[in-house]
């Protein structure tokens, strides 16, 4: 049977446009909110996920990657002595202060890695090289943070914690969950740019944040993990996956940030759904006698429901395409501003299914009303 729904929309383009707008609104809000959340989640554990370490060692009860407390640096050697450990590298994360050209300060997160090592996450460099970190006062920042740090370019000299630093490279897409800019530097300079105690003669001794552990070939992960935990007091050993999960869980659930994003996405769905539902209902009510005619001509509820469903799904389809296009535009604009909005294929499929369900659900009110239409009404109009 021909699509009466499509023809109804064609004859009433303004109303159809409003319904499509409702779908676009819902699609954009869901895609961007969830995409942003996915981007943040990705960022939250990016450095863990991309590291090449088999185990991460920290102080006990670390809630998230970003908030670890220092551990005595000498434990590094005890870890290295555990059977099954191939080698250990330091990896330090500390908060610091970046002096802006305007005279103000910006918080930053100094990521100090072993520039000769192999276990730290690879930097996604678009300018410069990791070897450049050997240079005096060298730091690498993310392209998305350049504006935030005072329109910085490669080669610029800056000040971190009142110490001179020089930008020698740029990464791309390496942002933190908190949007605090990452400053990548060598372990040695990291001690100068952060608040870690580097003096091994001081009462607290030299400190580190994480130890990245590579296992020897054939070593059992759990055995080594248990051996470190039981043999070295005051440390907690995580697999890459468990630490990544703990970090994501902290930001998403314990801080409530994830729920906030999801609530906004659900709200978008509700508002979009109500708009589509109201438009379809208004179109149905306007054409109630015509549905009565269809019933009188022998059309069943299946054929009549198809008219409304077609209208809903056509609006949904058009709205979905426009909404996704808009979402990509917003994602591009967000990327330029240093915010990651991830739109993977899975999200697109999910949004498409949600849109189809939304439009079907929005059609239900009209269909329920149409069930009550008597064919006899055609003789009274």
């Amino acid at each position: 049977m021909m699509s009466i729904g499509w023809r109804n929309l064609k004859r009433d383009p303004w109303r159809a446009a409003v319904a499509v707008l409702g779908v676009v609104f819902a699609v954009v809000l869901v895609t961007v909110e969830v995409g942003m959340l996915m981007g943040l989640v990705r960022n939250a554990s990016l450095l863990i996920d991309q590291s090449r370490a088999d185990l991460w060692v920290s102080t006990v009860d670390v809630k998230t990657f970003d908030f670890a407390t220092p551990v005595d640096n000498r434990k590094r050697y005890r870890i290295a002595a555990v059977p099954g450990v191939d080698h250990v590298e330091e990896f330090n994360v500390t908060y610091s202060v970046w002096k802006l050209p305007s005279g103000g300060n910006a918080n930053c997160q100094v990521i100090a890695l072993d520039e000769h090592g192999t276990l730290a996450p690879p930097l996604n460099l678009i300018e410069g090289s990791v070897e450049a970190l050997h240079n005096q006062d060298a730091v690498i920042i993310d392209k998305g943070d350049c504006a935030k740090l005072g329109n910085i370019h490669v080669g610029d000299t800056v000040e971190i914690l009142e110490r001179r630093a020089r930008v020698v490279g740029l990464t791309q897409g390496m942002s933190s969950f908190t949007t605090t800019p990452y400053i990548f530097t060598s372990l040695r300079r990291g001690e100068r740019y952060g608040y870690l105690t580097s003096d091994s003669g001081s009462p607290s001794g030299k400190q580190s944040i994480y130890f990245l552990v590579k296992l020897s070939p054939g070593a059992d992960l759990e055995t080594v993990r248990n051996a470190i935990t039981s043999g070295i007091p005051g440390v907690e050993v995580h697999t890459r996956e468990s630490f990544s999960y703990r970090t994501r869980k902290y930001w998403l659930i314990e801080t409530g940030v994830g729920l906030g994003f999801l609530a906004a996405a659900v709200l978008g769905l509700l508002v979009g759904g109500v708009i589509v539902s109201q438009i379809l209902y208004a179109m149905t009510m306007e054409k109630l006698p015509e549905f009565g005619v269809m019933k009188a001509l022998g059309a069943g509820m299946g054929e009549i429901s198809r008219v409304v469903l077609d209208q809903g799904l056509i609006c949904g389809g058009v709205g979905l395409v426009i909404g996704i296009a808009c979402s990509y535009g917003i994602a591009a604009a967000a990327a330029a501003a240093g915010t990651t909005v991830e739109i993977p294929t899975g999200l697109l499929i999910g949004v498409s299914v949600i849109t189809a369900l939304l439009c079907t659900f929005a059609s239900l009110f009209s269909i329920l009303r149409l069930r009550r239409v008597e064919p006899g009404m055609v003789f009274r109009t």
Binding site: M1, M2, I4, R7, N8, K10, R11, D12, K287, P289, E290, V293, M294, K295, A296, L297, G298, A299, G300, E303, E374, P375, G376, V378, F379, R380, T381
Partner: protein
Amino acid sequence: MTPTISVRSVSKHYAGGESWAVRGISLSVFPAEVTVLMGPSGSGKTTLLSMIGGVLTPTEGSLSVCGVELSGCDESQLQSFRRGQIGFIFQSFNLLSSLTALENIELALSLRGKGPSTAAELLDHVGLAAKAQAYPMELSGGQRQRIGVARALAGDPPVLLADEPTAALDAFQGRRVMDLLRTRARESGTTVLVVTHDPRVREFADRVIEMEDGKLKRIVRRVRPEQAEDGQWLVSRTGTIVAETAST
């Protein structure tokens, strides 16, 4: 001749209604004839037509149309009955506004499980081939009603039920529509039942059923010229046919 439509002691009382819309009606309608159901407003004509068309169920009595006993049918059986046996023509045309003239006919064909190939032929039959792509709003009342007739004819239903088909038309357009219906009855043996209070329709009737206050007043039958004696009409109230001298 076997009647296509048999109505036996049918009554209808609407829920909440004060009186009976139709009370104790019995009548027969025959194939290849145009039967006109006449009476003043509120006499129960349209209610009776709705029951014959399977869109209303009688409170009492029974009806059979094309051999289908409607009283025992559930909604899905009635739907199937309407789809297969009945072509409806409405006073206010009731064409689907978002479909073109051709598509309105194609819809009826599609509901009857027929392909769209005869739609253009039907449009041509009602003299509107040139208006195939016009939307109802772009057509005059007469043209819309002729589209309505073409839609009712789609799929060759054995029964055509028309509710005031000339009420919204001028005399010329009204005659044209009634001509179409009479031709259909004559040429295809279709049973045509027309509800009207338009006296001009009477001249197209083979049989006139008059109603008043929900009851049958009388049945008048036109006789063929060779059968006519004193006049053109025969009258029956109770089934006995008598001649009526003054008519048309």
